[in-house]
Symmetry: C2
Subunit: 152 residues, 2 copies
């Protein structure tokens, strides 16, 4: 099991928007070329980001853009937006422990608190990374002399 690639694709998309918005119209077609997936995948993804208030997109004319300052979008926001985990629970508890067994009866209570702490540690770390941070790192890797040019 792994966290869905929707998450990394979403980050890719958001960074792409910021890098290219000045020079290109950001369509699902454009984004799909960079990510290398079907444009419909991008559209569905962008709908999720839109519902979460991270991007805005207009029908017909086309074009997506971020809906918030980049320093206010964290990896946790993206992660939650694309619903990588069912109902926010990272760990999947087996549903029917035998309640007649003292261990089966109490395992949930014994484990839950610990699992929540683990999940929180991960989410806290996610929250500490903003899209602005990622964009800055990306900009630092784009050759300045070549300009912001999309070679495809």
């Amino acid at each position: 099991m792994q966290i869905s690639s929707r998450f990394t694709i979403a980050v890719h998309v958001l960074v792409c928007i910021e890098v290219f918005k000045k020079d290109y119209k950001i369509t699902s077609e454009f984004l799909s070329s960079s990510v290398n997936v079907n444009p419909v995948v991008i559209r569905k993804l962008i709908q999720q980001l839109k519902k979460a208030g991270l991007v805005c997109v207009v029908r017909g004319s086309g074009g997506a853009d971020t809906a918030k300052p980049l320093d206010q979008i964290t990896l946790l926001d993206v992660y939650n937006a694309v619903e990588c985990v069912d109902s926010g629970e990272l760990f999947h508890f087996h549903e029917n422990p035998n309640l007649l067994c003292p261990v089966g009866k109490n395992i949930h209570a014994v484990l839950d608190e610990r699992l929540e702490k683990i999940q929180k540690a991960m989410e806290d770390e996610m929250q500490s990374v903003t899209l602005l941070d990622l964009l800055n790192r990306m900009q630092g890797r784009l050759q300045p002399e070549s300009g912001i040019r999309c070679n495809y």
Copy 2:
């Protein structure tokens, strides 16, 4: 996506072994009754725990037991033993970003370091929880007057 229930089942099994080993023979049948799954699921799980050096189990005569002191078994050990994540990578990167696109070319490098840090935060938290800790919490919930009795 959620982390496989194999993980919580494995923890359940290990705690069960420790609570009942004095009074019962720990067979896959016995464990499956507490967890409420097919005995084969338990056997396959125990094979994974065995490969990781966490339990020992004898064929024929039956009976599983832990192979290490409980304060030396952490949730991370169990997590790794049951192979909840493919090749140890929590995040699933989309495989084919367009290398002709400056963003597609660099997204991996920009994200990787951050994702590793997030995964590490989670694993560190897992490592801080030992089975001894969980067993103590469990013992505290078992009614002392009723003894260690399995009502099934």
